[in-house]
């Protein structure tokens, strides 16, 4: 069996032959007797780890230890123990943070799906630019000119360009944006990403994050105009390709949480207009997402307008029925359930 990306990167002489390491007695890996799933490490990896165990055991704080952690991480970036040790070394040796950042960036390019390097990166950025000081004295425009922030945004642009749905990169962006209060540029970024691929759900999720400015949804009351603006924006994007779950999921989720009344006062007329427009009617009326939205909308309307409640729920039920047999038979069991769960 093989795993990608594990080529050895070392060309130097073995540590055991290096003068610098003569004082260290390597500690071999102890897997016990006849272990299961033993890995046939290369000699180079095994030796690095043996020496690393030795310096870690005596908690050595040295340049050579720092260098060794770098080599190990390059071979295996998932080695969290080594990252923790490296973080301590960087701090206690007062290592050059910018240099460290460069190094982490080079690893990121090789292993975009790794957890540890993003975490390491956060700690470095905080040391380079104290969030409290940065956000107290400066406006967003000023902060965006700061080399640290500029560099981070550039780095993230590259990572997201490489993989537009990179889960770690988007999460890290959330951390950066909320730590340094750079919300306005983020909305612009989100718009750009949605323009590039209107089906990029990570971008839609980020949109919600930006609208809430990272606050707990349960404690946020959204401005009515802002919500209406989101409805307009979303419907405009639905027009590109109505059979796209992301904008539907976004706007229904947002409205159910923050402005349920607007589901039928604001969203409903807009999507109905679209469904009646000859340019969009076919795409609208053949996508399950339109019908599914109507179910949520009518249910909400029934809650708020009790005199029409019965008729609205019946409409919703009949849509569920059609979804189950016609528009979305794969999820038939779900639509049956949705129909019975309709309530005022």
């Amino acid at each position: 069996m093989r795993v990608e990306g594990s080529e050895d990167v070392c060309e130097a002489a073995p540590l055991s032959q290096q003068e610098e390491w003569r004082d260290v007695t390597p500690i071999p890996q102890d897997d016990g007797k006849h272990p299961i799933c033993p890995i046939a490490y290369t000699d180079d990896y095994r030796e690095m780890m043996d020496y690393l165990r030795a310096v870690m055991a005596k908690e050595e704080i040295s340049e050579r230890a720092l260098e060794l952690t770098g080599r190990v991480i390059q071979a295996n970036p998932g080695h969290y123990t080594v990252w923790v040790y490296r973080k301590r070394l960087v701090e206690e040796l007062n290592a050059d943070i910018a240099g460290e950042l460069n190094w982490v960036s080079s690893i990121s390019a090789m292993y975009p799906k790794n957890y540890q390097l993003w975490h390491h990166r956060e700690a470095l950025i905080v040391r380079l630019l104290d969030p409290k000081q940065a956000t107290e004295g400066q406006s967003e425009t000023e902060l965006l000119r700061h080399p640290v922030i500029r560099r981070e945004l550039q780095f993230l642009d590259n990572a997201i360009n490489e993989d537009s749905k990179n889960f770690h990169a988007w999460s890290y962006r959330q951390w950066l944006v909320s730590t340094y209060n750079i919300w306005e540029q983020e909305l612009i970024f989100v718009n750009t990403m949605i323009n590039e691929d209107v089906r990029n759900n990570s971008a839609w999720n980020q949109r919600y994050f930006v609208i809430l400015q990272g606050r707990n949804p349960a404690q946020v009351e959204l401005d009515s105009e802002l919500v209406s603006g989101e409805i307009v924006y979303t419907v405009e994007n639905i027009k590109f390709a109505p059979n796209n779950e992301s904008p539907w999921s976004y706007i229904i989720g947002l409205l159910l949480r923050h402005a349920p009344g607007k589901l039928y006062t604001d969203l409903l007329p807009k999507i109905q207009t679209l469904a009646n427009n000859k340019d969009y009617s076919l795409a609208m009326t053949t996508t399950q997402f339109y019908w599914s939205a109507l179910v949520d909308i009518y249910e909400q309307q029934a809650r708020e307008l009790p005199e029409q409640g019965k008729a609205l729920l019946e409409k919703a039920q009949s849509i569920c029925h059609n979804l189950a047999i016609e528009h979305d038979p794969m999820h038939g069991k779900y639509w049956e359930f949705r129909s019975t769960s309709l309530s005022v």
Partner: protein, 430 residues
């Protein structure tokens, strides 16, 4: 309905191409070729129906694939050097789910290997002499559960485990994965699984955890790693299973959750994706498909109501698209190579779609949030009579697995019985 083969079920891009739709189209293309070959020619006049009678689980191939791994892995696996307990868990659990023999010698080797991972101050590490890790602890303990008996459970220093987990606990209810490590819903799931098995669930350990998970539910309905981040299949299973242990699935908006989970099953492929507008992947057969058993109980739906997804379509995806017939093992999707991770989670997803896992309504325990009711509540889960649905050959049937723990029921019951017959753990928290 699911037996009908039709290109109409393919993704409709409304003649507007983007990166997402192009990738989706490519995958549908390769899966369409596989399904098309299964169409029964006699049914073409009616539009074409898929003949599912011939699907065969390649047990011998998969078993060999896993046994080779247990024997030894190539140097390329150094990238998983800090996930060694996982290699063991993926392998042994795959064997167990397929009903393969795990002989006493292999058991002993597994126990010896896990021993090496236990840290002096509690918890298990990703490899010997590494730092203790929540996920490593989960995988080590589940491995011991799989191969264990009363003698081997003693390997686990549960008092130290408890103390260590308390040092990982954050004020907001979440857990750090390791000292100085990342914080997310996985940590809560690992902690709840471990604590519920080892009989070390205390009010202090579980404080605010349900609340943290509820804050991870996004407006889409699924669960993300921590508040704000996109909903994802893996975290959804972790969050929902942790809440089932806590007896608090009702902190979620279950209607939105059901909608999101159901939407993850792709109409043409039959398998699941992990996020909205992402591609099908065999591992989500477990992370999302497997979570429907938990959802069913949370929604108080009965067995006769049936699961909220298409069980046959998922089994078809696993059996027709995820098996690597040449190398053995199971995979993400056609064109990818098999690996231990996908082998386990495809098999586990297959199991959870073959068996209806539920709780006999007559035995339902109402005091569901007390830590004292945990072992009884967890052992209520069982494969329900008349709940089996096997696609293809009858011999494709694999062992039922527990939807919370992801392992078969007998070893789990043995472990719970052992730890709950021990005197309560007395630890000073301060």
């Amino acid at each position: 309905m699911s037996h009908l083969f039709s290109y109409d079920f393919r993704y409709d891009d409304n003649v507007y191409e983007t990166e997402t739709s192009l990738k989706q189209e490519e995958v549908e293309e390769s899966i369409g070729r596989i399904y098309y070959k299964l169409v029964d020619p006699h049914t073409i006049v009616n539009g074409g129906e898929i003949d599912d009678s011939g699907h065969r689980l390649l047990r011998i191939k998969h078993e060999q694939f896993v046994r080779d791994a247990l024997h030894g892995l190539s140097s390329g696996f150094a990238v998983l050097d800090a996930s060694q307990p996982w290699l063991a868990f993926w392998s042994l659990n795959s064997l167990d789910i397929m009903g393969c023999d795990i002989d006493p010698q292999l058991r002993q080797r597994a126990v010896n290997t896990m021993k090496q991972f236990q840290a002096e101050n509690g918890g298990f590490c990703g490899g010997s002499r590494q730092l203790p890790h929540m996920a490593g602890s989960f995988a080590s303990i589940m491995t011991l559960v799989l191969v264990g008996d009363d003698e081997t459970y003693k390997v686990i220093d549960r008092e130290a485990m408890y103390r260590w987990m308390m040092t990982m606990k954050q004020p907001d209810g979440s857990f750090s994965m390791h000292t100085g490590g990342e914080v997310d819903v996985r940590g809560i799931y690992c902690a709840m699984v471990i604590a519920s098995l080892l009989n070390i669930m205390t009010p202090e350990l579980i404080a605010s955890s349900a609340d943290f998970i509820s804050r991870c539910q996004t407006c889409e309905g699924g669960i993300g790693p921590y508040p704000g981040v996109e909903a994802h299949g893996g975290y959804t299973m972790c969050g929902l299973a942790a809440l089932e242990i806590l007896g608090k699935t009702d902190v979620l908006n279950l209607g939105r959750l059901a909608r999101w989970m159901s939407s993850r099953q792709l109409a043409f492929e039959g398998g699941f994706s992990g996020r909205t507008n992402k591609l099908v992947d065999g591992c989500y057969s477990h992370w999302v498909g497997g979570a429907f058993a938990l959802l069913q109980k949370a929604l108080k739906r009965s067995q006769s109501d049936g699961y909220l997804y298409d069980r046959a379509a998922l089994q078809r995806y696993v059996l027709a698209c995820c098996q690597d017939g040449r190398m053995g093992g199971l995979r993400d999707k056609p064109g990818k190579s098999s690996d231990l991770y996908h082998t386990l989670y495809c098999l586990s997803g297959l199991s959870l779609s073959q068996h209806y896992m539920g709780v006999n309504p007559k035995e339902l325990i109402s005091d569901n949030t007390s830590v004292y009711s945990v072992p009884a509540r967890m052992m209520q889960w069982d494969a329900m009579p008349m709940g089996t649905e096997i696609l293809g050959l009858r011999s494709n049937m694999v062992k039922p697995v527990h939807p919370v723990y992801g392992v078969s029921l007998v070893p789990l019951a043995k472990c719970i019985k052992y730890f709950y017959s021990l005197p309560p753990l007395v630890v000073s928290l301060v």
